[in-house]
């Protein structure tokens, strides 16, 4: 059986103007990304701002066509944006954004907004109330306007609308980062329930590793447009193979218990690099404690490493890289 969604070597570049006067530069937002999402499973995509995770989400959803590479949905190539076939395909894949208030039309009651996709695709509009109830909203919420709902309720309304056409594939782009902690938990539980009931495949885009571990079956870590590591959530979180994943995991703030089994905190120096000014070779090398000559020159391929088959894009994947190399204190402060 084919995967629900398969992206093979997709790339996408944008032209970015520099200032009012400067010329434009090409920014490679997504660079040779391959990913697979199975039915009823979730792939978590983590990375920092500007790493290309949202662009990857739009490419996976077919909202944009990649410059090169191919996206296949249910075994067939993704139709090109705005074609008739593409419009029909929209019913089967949906997106949920970070800001639920921005995603909803303020002038329409919730019920009408959930009914809209049903009308567009010629489906039964009496399903609105059951849909609202399935995401934990009440019948009377149908008549309310977005501003009358709380943040969590709005995100539920967005989910109800996304689920209206019974999609097989859902892209959730930072769906919980605008919500309070207790509400985040509600939405994560809801996503897990929806998946268990309907068997949707999900791409869960987030900067929050805790959230990604909670909802995902596999995790991909992105850095400057490329996936640098991919694997089981617990493998990536507990024994990260790529130096960047190690730094990312180490940066998760948490209580420091006595006798904790976590490695000492790694504090990466410098800012995430600018996608318009991509370092040569491995894009992470300027911030990496283990970079060698080859890292500066050659882009490492994402491939299973020899020792244990973990998928990682690092020239030093099979070397023993001591954590101590990272933990230089902030020299300027000391």
């Amino acid at each position: 059986m084919t995967a629900l969604l398969e992206a093979r070597g997709i790339s996408r570049s944008y032209r970015l103007r520099r200032g009012i006067l400067g010329g434009s530069v090409e920014v490679r937002a997504v660079d040779h990304v391959s990913l697979t999402i199975e039915r009823g499973r979730t792939l978590g995509l983590v990375g920092e701002s500007g790493c290309g995770k949202s662009t990857t989400g739009r490419l996976a959803l077919g909202l944009e066509a990649p410059d090169s590479g191919e996206v296949r949905f249910d075994g067939a190539p993704m139709p090109s944006p705005n074609s008739a076939e593409w419009r029909r395909s929209r019913a089967r894949m949906q997106m949920v954004f970070q800001d639920p208030l921005g995603a909803l039309d303020r002038r329409l009651p919730i019920g009408a907004q959930v009914a809209e996709p049903l009308e567009i695709h010629g489906l039964d509009t009496t399903r609105v109330i059951p849909l609202l109830e399935s995401v934990g909203l009440r019948r009377d919420h149908a008549d309310r306007y977005p501003h009358e709902l709380s943040g969590g309720q709005r995100q539920r309304a967005v989910l109800a609308r996304a689920l209206a056409t019974d999609p097989a594939f859902l892209v959730c782009d930072e769906p919980i980062s605008a919500l309070d902690v207790s509400i985040q938990a509600q939405v994560m539980n809801l996503l897990t329930d929806i998946q268990a009931e309907r068997g949707v495949g999900m791409l869960f885009i987030s900067h929050d590793l805790r959230a990604v571990r909670q909802v995902s079956h596999r995790v991909a870590v992105m850095y400057l447009g490329r996936i640098v590591e991919e694997g089981e959530p617990d493998a990536v979180l507990h024994r990260p193979a790529h130096p960047y994943s190690r730094a990312l995991v180490s940066a998760i703030p948490q209580p420091r218990r006595a006798g904790a089994k976590f490695a000492p905190r790694i504090v990466l120096q410098g800012d995430p690099p600018n996608p318009a000014d991509r370092p040569s070779g491995c894009a992470f090398h300027p911030r990496c404690a283990f970079a060698t000559e080859i890292c500066r020159a050659v882009v490492p391929e994402l491939a299973p490493r020899a020792s244990d088959g973990r998928t990682v894009a690092c020239h030093r994947a099979d070397d023993d890289l001591p954590a101590e190399a990272w933990t230089k204190p902030l020299e300027r402060v000391a």
């Binding site: 520099r18 200032g19 009012i20 006067l21 410098g270 800012d271 690099p273 600018n274 000014d277």
Partner: protein, 311 residues
């Protein structure tokens, strides 16, 4: 910078061409200048002779091209009324117009900006409500209504000031006030909302949290930021120094550029109308250019060369 200036100049040229073309087309479509100037009962031979003299018998596109050719060689044409050079006619009216618009601009700035700032600083106070009432009134009452009202009160009822003409400085008072109040109201509203926007910004709170006294927060942190959007409307006011008094000049029979324009339009005196439009378009464009350059001075984010650091 060169590229910036070049694109701005090109855009300005295109605007001027469009303005002149528009005037040309509208005036030609709305009546026969020869007939209007010669009068309805003029003998047809005389009208035809007039047409030939002014080139009005040529096909319209030939007239259009020859008109542009003349403009580029610096010839703005002659008045069809009295045969004098259009540019001379217009230029001799400019001092009269400026005698109204410059004092009016001073009133707008001196009244509108402080009123807007104070209204924002004392939001929801009686002062704010008074300013806003004044602003809404000044904004909604058309200048001819306001002008006539002032004439009724100060000229007819009280007899303090003359109702029209240009004999003395006292004749200028009512038209200047009429012009000034409307603009001050608009500027007060605009300044108020720009200030309110800025006062709500986090950096204002940062300045207070740093221990800066409120007066200094306003003067040093709020005003420079609120000035950025406000220069747009002030620039527009500078741009309308020449053409901004059309209605008021007519109400007060003030012999400025505005009245010349009204007369020239009703006479279909093409060269004069187009000369005025050209002048107006050029002042507007110059004002806009100055505003753009001012943005660069006021807002470091818009200055060229600055780039986000990648450290």
């Amino acid at each position: 910078m060169l590229r910036f200036t070049a694109t701005r100049l090109l855009r300005a040229a295109i605007t001027i061409v469009m303005v002149v073309t528009f005037a040309f087309v509208v005036l030609r479509l709305s009546g026969d200048p020869a007939q209007i100037i010669m009068g309805a009962d003029a003998p047809p031979e005389a009208v035809d002779a007039f047409r030939t003299a002014w080139g009005l018998d040529e096909p319209i596109w030939v007239q259009y091209i020859s008109y542009f050719g003349a403009i580029f060689s610096g010839d703005l044409g002659r008045s069809m009324r009295d045969g004098r050079e259009a540019i001379v006619l217009v230029l001799e009216r400019i001092p009269a117009t400026l005698a109204l618009t410059v004092p009016a601009l001073v009133i707008k700035l001196a009244l509108g900006i402080p009123a807007g700032i104070l209204a924002a600083l004392y939001r929801n106070s009686a002062l704010d409500r008074a300013v806003m009432m004044f602003a809404v009134a000044g904004f909604t009452i058309p200048s001819f209504v306001l002008g006539l009202l002032l004439v009724l009160v100060f000229a007819v009822q009280l007899g303090w000031l003359p109702s029209g003409g240009q004999e003395s400085w006292r004749h200028a008072i009512l038209p200047v006030i009429t012009l000034g109040i409307g603009g001050a109201a608009a500027l007060a509203r605009f300044t108020r909302s720009a200030m309110l926007e800025v006062l709500g910004q986090p950096y204002i709170r940062t300045a207070s949290a740093k221990g800066v006294a409120w007066r200094r927060v306003v003067a040093n942190h709020a005003l420079p930021n609120a000035a950025i959007p406000t220069v747009t409307i002030i620039g527009f006011m500078f741009g309308s120094l020449i053409a901004g008094a059309v209605v008021v000049e007519s109400v007060f029979s003030w012999p400025g550029v505005g009245r010349l324009l009204v007369t020239a339009v009703s006479n279909r005196d093409l060269a004069v109308v187009q000369c005025i439009l050209l002048l107006v378009a050029m002042t507007m464009i110059t004002a806009n250019l100055v505003v753009d350059l001012l943005y660069g001075v006021l807002d470091p984010r818009l200055r060229g060369g600055a780039r986000k650091a990648e450290a």
